[in-house]
C-alpha cells in the first residue's frame, strides 16, 4: 500500500518536489507519534523494574511472590522487615472476586435488558444511567463508600467496622458495572438477527431464545466483558484504599468483613511514607510490577477472546453461504460453553435469592392456576414457557432496577448534601482553615489546567498515531505492535501511571511536584482513548471519498487534511471530551506528581504544583476532621461530579448529533 502510493505520486508529472518532501516528513512524523504508546509502555516497565530490582535481588522473585507476611515497616521500626507480597496479591484477587460476584449478574442482566427487552424509550434512559456510573470519579465512590456505605454495613450487619473486604467489593462492583454492561451489550447485539428470528419462528418464547440462542452465541463476548471488568476492578486504587481498612492480612472466607490491603492500596498508602531509597520503597515498586503484569495478562486474554469472536463471526458468515444451518453449528460449538452460561445464570439466581423466592412463589401460584384453567397439554406447555419468561424477565428487570437505584442513591446523597455547601463564595474563593472554610476556586482552575494540558499533549500525539495506523499502513507487524502498546497502556492502572510520573518526571527529570508532571502523566493515561476514538472516526469516512480525492490528483496528505479529517472532527472531539472527563476525575496519577493541598494563588508556571478537585476531596475526606470539612467535601464532590458528568453528556450529545447528521 505504501509502496503503491509513492509510485502513484511519482507517476504524476505535476507533483512538485517539495510536495513529495512534505509527504515524506508527514509520514515519518506520524510514525513517531504512533510509537509513543510503545515507548511509554517500555519506559514504564523499565523504570518500575529498575526501581524494583534491589528487592527482587534481595528476596528472590519466588519469595517475594509467595512470602505470606508484608511487614516492610520493620526496616524503619527496627524489627526484621518482611517483604512477602502474597497477602496483597490474595487481597486483590479476593476483592475482585467479590466484586464480580455482584457485578456480573447485574451487568449481564442489564445488558440483556438493554439489547433484548427494553423498548427504545426505556433504553434511552437506561443507557445514560450506565454511562453516568462510568463517569463518576473513583475518589467520589471512595467518599461515598466512606461516609455512607461503611456506616450502613456497620449498622445493618452489626459489625465492629464496615471497612473491609465487602465494602471494597461492593464499590468495585458498581465501578465495574459499566464496563461489563457495555461490552456484554455489544456482544449480544453482534449475534446475527437470523439466529433469533429462526428460534422465534420455531415457536420458542423470547426468553427461550435469549437463553438457548442469544447468550450461548454471545458467550465469548460476555466472557471478554467479565475479564475487562476484572481488569478494571483489580487496578482500581482510590475507592478501594478509602474503604478497605488497609491491614495486610491473608483473606479468609469466614470473615467477609475483614480489613485487607490490596496491591494498589499498598502503593497508594505506603509510597508517601516509605523512606527514600529504602528497601520498603523498592518493595512497593515490586508490588507495582506485579500489578502491571497481572493487568497485562488480564487484558491480553480479553483481547485474545474478542479477536476470536471476530474470526468466528466472519467464519459463520462464510458458512452461511454454504447453506449449513448456522444455528445448529453454533449450538454444537457452544455445548461446552453453555455449561458456563448456566453457571453464570446460576450465580444470577443465587444473588437475587430473595427476589427469586418471591417470584418463584408467584410463578408457582400462576402455573397452578394456569394448570387448572388450561386443559390441553400443548397450551399448558406454552403457558409454562410464558410464565418462565415472565419470571426470568423479572430477574433481569430487577438487575436493572438495582443498577439504576445504585446511581440514584449515590447521586442523591451527593446532590442533597453538596448543594448545602455550594455558594458563590465557595466557587470563587481559595480554601481557608484547612478547607473547612473558604472555597475551592484554585482547585477548579487547577483541574481545568491539568486536563487542558493533558489533552494538549495527548490530542496531537493520539491523532497522529491514529492517522498513521488507519491511513499509512496496512495491518501488519508494526500496527500490531503499536496497537498492543495502546491496548496495554489503556489497561495500565492509574496508580502505576502515578508511580511512573513520580519516578520519571518528578524525580528523574527533576521537575518536582509540578503541573507539567501531572499534565503529561494524565496525557499518557488518556492517549489510548484518543487513539481509539480517532481511529474509529477516520474509519467511518467512506473509502470512496479518499479515492475520489486521490483521483483528482491530490496527494495523500492533502487528501487526509482536506477530505478525511474534516468529517471526522466530531468523532475526534467526542474522544477528546471523554478523555478530559476521565482525566478530570483521576486522583492516583496526580497524587505524587502534581497535586498540592492548598494554594492561595494560581500557579505561575507549569513547574508549580496545582490544587485539583479530586485530590482536594480526598484530603478533606481523610485528613481534615470536623463537620465543616464533611460539608465542603460534599460540595467538592458535587462540583467534581457535575464537571465530569457535564463533559460526558457533552460527548454523548456530540456523538448523537454526529450520528444523525452523517449521511454519506
Amino acid at each position: 500500500m505504501i509502496l503503491m502510493d509513492s509510485k502513484k505520486s511519482g507517476a504524476v508529472p505535476l507533483q512538485k518536489k517539495s510536495g513529495r518532501l512534505t509527504e515524506q516528513s508527514v509520514k515519518y512524523t506520524l510514525f513517531i507519534t504512533a510509537t509513543v504508546t510503545v515507548v511509554t509502555i517500555f519506559a514504564i516497565l523499565f523504570f518500575l523494574l529498575q526501581s524494583a530490582y534491589p528487592i527482587l535481588e534481595q528476596e528472590g522473585v519466588w519469595n517475594f511472590l509467595t512470602g505470606s507476611n508484608w511487614k516492610p515497616e520493620g526496616e524503619i521500626y527496627g524489627f526484621p522487615a518482611q517483604y512477602g507480597a502474597l497477602p496483597l496479591l490474595a487481597a486483590s484477587v479476593a476483592v475482585t472476586i467479590g466484586a464480580m460476584a455482584l457485578s456480573v449478574p447485574l451487568g449481564i442482566g442489564t445488558a440483556i435488558f438493554i439489547s433484548e427487552i427494553a423498548t427504545d424509550r426505556i433504553r434511552s434512559i437506561i443507557k445514560p444511567v450506565v454511562e453516568l456510573l462510568a463517569g463518576i470519579p473513583s475518589v467520589v465512590y471512595g467518599f461515598f463508600g466512606l461516609v455512607i456505605l461503611v456506616n450502613w454495613l456497620q449498622v445493618s450487619f452489626d459489625i465492629a467496622s464496615g471497612e473491609g473486604w465487602l465494602a471494597a467489593s461492593i464499590l468495585l462492583a458498581i465501578m465495574a458495572l459499566p464496563t461489563i454492561t457495555s461490552v456484554a451489550e455489544d456482544a449480544i447485539k453482534a449475534v446475527p438477527r437470523e439466529f433469533k428470528e429462526g428460534s422465534l419462528a420455531l415457536g420458542a418464547t423470547k426468553w427461550e431464545t435469549i437463553k438457548k440462542v442469544t447468550i450461548p452465541s454471545a458467550l465469548s463476548g460476555i466472557t471478554a466483558a467479565i475479564i475487562l471488568g476484572i481488569g478494571r476492578a483489580i487496578g482500581e486504587t482510590m475507592a478501594v484504599m478509602m474503604v478497605i481498612g488497609n491491614s495486610a492480612l491473608m483473606p479468609s472466607l469466614k470473615e467477609p468483613f475483614m480489613p485487607l490491603k490490596t496491591l494498589t492500596s499498598a502503593i497508594a498508602v505506603e509510597m508517601g511514607e516509605a523512606p527514600y531509597g529504602s528497601m520498603w520503597q523498592h518493595g512497593l515498586y515490586g508490588v507495582a510490577v506485579l500489578l502491571l503484569v497481572i493487568v497485562f495478562i488480564v487484558n491480553i486474554s480479553s483481547t485474545f477472546i474478542l479477536g476470536k469472536i471476530k474470526e468466528k463471526h466472519t467464519a459463520s458468515k462464510s458458512r452461511k453461504k454454504k447453506r449449513v444451518s448456522p444455528l445448529l453449528v453454533q449450538q454444537a460449538k457452544h455445548l461446552g460453553k453453555g455449561v458456563i452460561g448456566v453457571i453464570v445464570l446460576g450465580v444470577l439466581l443465587y444473588l437475587f435469592s430473595i427476589v427469586v423466592i418471591i417470584l418463584i412463589l408467584v410463578g408457582i401460584a400462576g402455573i397452578w392456576t394456569a394448570k387448572k384453567a388450561v386443559v390441553r397439554r400443548i397450551a399448558d406447555r406454552v403457558k409454562i414457557a410464558r410464565m418462565t419468561e415472565r419470571i426470568a424477565f423479572g430477574f433481569i428487570t430487577s438487575a436493572v432496577v438495582v443498577t439504576a437505584a445504585l446511581l440514584g442513591i449515590i447521586l442523591y446523597h451527593i446532590t442533597v448534601n453538596g448543594a448545602a455547601a455550594i455558594s458563590w463564595e465557595f466557587l470563587t474563593s481559595p480554601p481557608r482553615n484547612l478547607g473547612r472554610e473558604g472555597g475551592i476556586f484554585p482547585a477548579i482552575v487547577g483541574t481545568l489546567l491539568l486536563v487542558g494540558g493533558a489533552i494538549t499533549f495527548a490530542l496531537p500525539l493520539g491523532m497522529g498515531a491514529a492517522i498513521y495506523l488507519t491511513e499509512y499502513t496496512r495491518e501488519g507487524k508494526i500496527t500490531k505492535i503499536i496497537r498492543a502498546g495502546a491496548e496495554l497502556l489503556n489497561g495500565t492502572p492509574s496508580i502505576v501511571f502515578g508511580l511512573f510520573g513520580l519516578t520519571f518526571f518528578v524525580l528523574y527529570l527533576g521537575w518536582g511536584i509540578s503541573m507539567l508532571a501531572g499534565q503529561i502523566t494524565l496525557g499518557l493515561m488518556v492517549l489510548p482513548t484518543v487513539i481509539r476514538t480517532t481511529e474509529e472516526a477516520l474509519k467511518s469516512v467512506p473509502y470512496g471519498l479518499r479515492e475520489g480525492s486521490l483521483a483528482l490528483g491530490a496527494t495523500k496528505w492533502q487528501t487526509i487534511k482536506k477530505v478525511v479529517l474534516p468529517p471526522s472532527i466530531p468523532g475526534v472531539m467526542t474522544g477528546a471530551i471523554l478523555s478530559i472527563g476521565r482525566a478530570a476525575g483521576e486522583t492516583a496519577p496526580i497524587l505524587f506528581t502534581a497535586a498540592v493541598f492548598s494554594q492561595r494563588f494560581l500557579p505561575n508556571s507549569v513547574f508549580d504544583p496545582v490544587m485539583a478537585l479530586p485530590y482536594h476531596l480526598f484530603v478533606l475526606t481523610t485528613n481534615v476532621p470536623g463537620a465543616d470539612a464533611e460539608t465542603n467535601a460534599y460540595g467538592t464532590a458535587l462540583v467534581l461530579v457535575l464537571l465530569v458528568a457535564g463533559l460526558y453528556l457533552a460527548a454523548i450529545a456530540i456523538r448523537n448529533r454526529y450520528i444523525k447528521s452523517m449521511k454519506w
Binding site: 521500626y77 492480612l249 523512606p275 524525580l507 468529517p567 481523610t622 485528613n623 449521511k663
Partner: protein
C-alpha cells in the same frame, strides 16, 4: 444520476457542518489560550514562592501558619502539599521543595542520602487514646493500653468497663504516629492481628466516634466532643490528654513535629520558620490542638 445528485447534496450539508465544527474548535482553542495566559498573569512578577511538602500530621500547622503569614505578606505565595514524611524528606533533599515536613526523626538511610538537612522542631504532638463517648471506661494505664493493642485484653470488662468486645483501631503501617506508638507504648512488640488500620487521624476519629466498642489513637487536635479522651496513668496519677498537661510534662505520650531545610534556612523559608516559632505562630499551633514549644 440520482445517486450522484444526492451525493453532492450531502457533501454540501456536511461541509456546512464542518464550518460550524471548525468554529467550535477555534473557540475551544481560544478559551484554552486565554486560561493559560490568565493563569500566567494572576501570579504577578514580584511574588516569592515557598513550597512545603510532607507529613499530613504537620500539614495543618504549616497550612494555618501560611494563611496567617500570607495575610501579612502580600507578595508571599506558600504552597503546601502532603504526601507523607518520606515525601517531605526526599523532596527537600532533592530540592523540589523548600521545606520538608516530617512527624518523625530522619532515618539513617535518609541522613546518608541528604547529609545537609537541618532539623527545625516546630511543635510537639501529644498522642491521645480515644473511645466512643458512651464508653464508661475513662482511664487506663500504659500497660493496659499495650494489653489492648497486643491482644491480651479483648473485652472492655477486662479493663473495668462493661461487657463489650474491644474494636482495636490503629494507623496503617506507613504512619509516623503508629511508629511512635509502637516504640513508646508497645515496647516494640507486635500489634494484635485484625487491628483496623486507618490511613489518617481523621479516619480513626470517625471510626471511633461511630463504633461503640472502639479504641483508637490520634493527635491531640482530634479530641473533641464526638469522642472521649482516655486519661493515662503517669506516676500514680491519671492525666487527661490536653495540651497543658503535655507542656507541664504530666501527660507522657508526645513527640516532636519537624520541618527540614536543605542547609540553613534562608530568605522566605527562614522568615516563615521564624514566624511559626514566634508567639503568634505558636498560638496557631496551640489553637489547632498541638503542643507549643
Amino acid at each position: 444520476m440520482r445517486r450522484a445528485f444526492s451525493l453532492a447534496g450531502d457533501c454540501h450539508m456536511t461541509s456546512n457542518n464542518h464550518k460550524k465544527i471548525g468554529k467550535i474548535m477555534l473557540a475551544v482553542a481560544a478559551i484554552t489560550l486565554v486560561t493559560a495566559m490568565f493563569s500566567g498573569c494572576l501570579g504577578g512578577s514580584d511574588t516569592e514562592t515557598l513550597t512545603i511538602a510532607g507529613s499530613t500530621t504537620v500539614l495543618p500547622i504549616a497550612q494555618l501558619a501560611a494563611e496567617a503569614y500570607m495575610d501579612e505578606h502580600d507578595n508571599a505565595d506558600i504552597r503546601i502539599s502532603g504526601g507523607g514524611s518520606s515525601v517531605g524528606v526526599s523532596s527537600v533533599g532533592d530540592g523540589t521543595a523548600d521545606i520538608g515536613m516530617a512527624s518523625r526523626e530522619l532515618k539513617d538511610s535518609e541522613k546518608a542520602a541528604y547529609p545537609n538537612l537541618v532539623q527545625h522542631v516546630v511543635a510537639r504532638d501529644g498522642i491521645a487514646l480515644i473511645v466512643h463517648p458512651s464508653n464508661t471506661v475513662s482511664q487506663l494505664t500504659v500497660e493496659q493500653v499495650r494489653g489492648i493493642y497486643n491482644g491480651t485484653y479483648t473485652d472492655w470488662n477486662q479493663v473495668g468497663g462493661p461487657s463489650r468486645s474491644i474494636v482495636v483501631v490503629g494507623r496503617d503501617s506507613a504512619s509516623g504516629t503508629r511508629e511512635f506508638f509502637w516504640e513508646f507504648v508497645m515496647d516494640k512488640k507486635d500489634f494484635v492481628a485484625g487491628m483496623l488500620e486507618m490511613n489518617s487521624n481523621g479516619a480513626v476519629h470517625s471510626k471511633v466516634s461511630t463504633t461503640q466498642g472502639a479504641i483508637g489513637y490520634v493527635g491531640l487536635g482530634y479530641v473533641d466532643n464526638q469522642v472521649k479522651g482516655i486519661n493515662i496513668e503517669n506516676n500514680g496519677q491519671y492525666v487527661p490528654p490536653s495540651v497543658q498537661n503535655v507542656i507541664d510534662g504530666k501527660y507522657p505520650v508526645a513527640r516532636n513535629l519537624n520541618m527540614y531545610t536543605n542547609g540553613s534556612a534562608t530568605g522566605l523559608a527562614k522568615d516563615f520558620l521564624d514566624f511559626i516559632k514566634s508567639p503568634d505562630g505558636q498560638q496557631i499551633v496551640e489553637d489547632e490542638g498541638f503542643v507549643p514549644l
